[in-house]
Subunit: 152 residues, 2 copies
DNA sequence: TCTCAACAGAAAATCATTATCATGTAGAAT
DNA sequence: ATTCTACATGATAATGATTTTCTGTTGAGA
């Protein structure tokens, strides 16, 4: 896992490139939002990013964070995970659909390695005739850490 | 598929039973909401149910529909499908987690027959150590009907 | 340095959902 | 059938995450 943080730098620069391509400006706040999004490993909420950015730029408005996230959504460079009972969470590292595992206790969200989703998609296509464009595969439960602390 | 509508009657009466067990009252509005929920085949929104119920009881408030849906949620007799960009949809026929296929054009939601989800869950358990309690498996795309009308 | 469209920040608007509360009524007791 | 009352309805207000609006500011090209 030595290369993980290098990958994050790469990803960050990919996003900067994308902004340049589309002639969006590089403001300090925008760059800080990108950094916070890419370098967070918790699938952060807008609020999470907001707090992170505020440490460096205390006058930042939460609207600015929302706007940058919307921008990335338009560019297809961020995956939005909406929930009925909590605020949206974001994955700017992997903007394409992929499965998630969510701890109901500590709200941690992780990316599991799963090979079976494409098969599932093929099965759906075959059985329903739908043209499938994206998906959302989430499992909810209790993470190993929370299972420990629960059994006290 | 002859028995499908009979199953719906059965399901409806199951819900009525459940209300009786828990000593909730049988009001005309509440019964109409149950009917609308069970007999709709589109995974209706609260608004959908509201309009349906209004045809029979024009003074019904949308708050009443929300409250009955909340009641069924508490009883574990309805499945809530939340979306970030549209209002919640409900399945009162199958209150347990199951996969869905959603048309992005006409917003139709169907229940596909899939066998692979339990395997997926086992894979998750094994790879992450999570205790899995529920899931959400949605595929988004274009239904066969909308594919037809799109290619004009 | 100058210019100006794009941006940041503050505040208001939106919208689905939930909460509040006065009035009405289901259903049990009389 | 009548009465009683706890629960339900319906109208309205509150909520909270997100979006929009507006005004002053600024990134970046000329
Ligand atoms: Mn992810
Ligand atoms: Mn369903
Ligand atoms: Zn946990
Ligand atoms: Zn369709």
């Amino acid at each position: 896992m030595k290369e993980a943080s290098e990958d994050l730098e790469t990803r960050f620069h990919k996003l900067m490139e994308k902004l340049k391509e589309h002639q969006f400006r590089f403001t300090p706040q925008r760059i800080a939002v990108l950094r916070a999004l890419v370098f967070s490993d918790i699938h952060p909420s807008v609020e999470d990013v907001f707090h992170q950015v505020r440490e460096q730029f205390p006058t930042t408005s939460i609207a600015t964070v929302y706007k940058t996230v919307a921008l990335l959504k338009d560019l297809g460079e961020i995956l939005e995970l909406g929930f009925p009972d909590m605020s949206n969470r974001y994955d700017a590292r992997k903007p394409y659909p992929h499965p998630h595992v969510i701890c109901l206790r500590c709200r941690k969200i992780i990316d599991p390695e799963l090979e079976r989703v494409p098969e599932l998609e093929r099965e759906i296509r075959h059985k329903t005739g739908f043209l499938i464009l994206s998906h959302r595969v989430d499992f909810f439960g209790i993470c190993p850490e929370c299972q420990q602390s629960e059994s006290l």
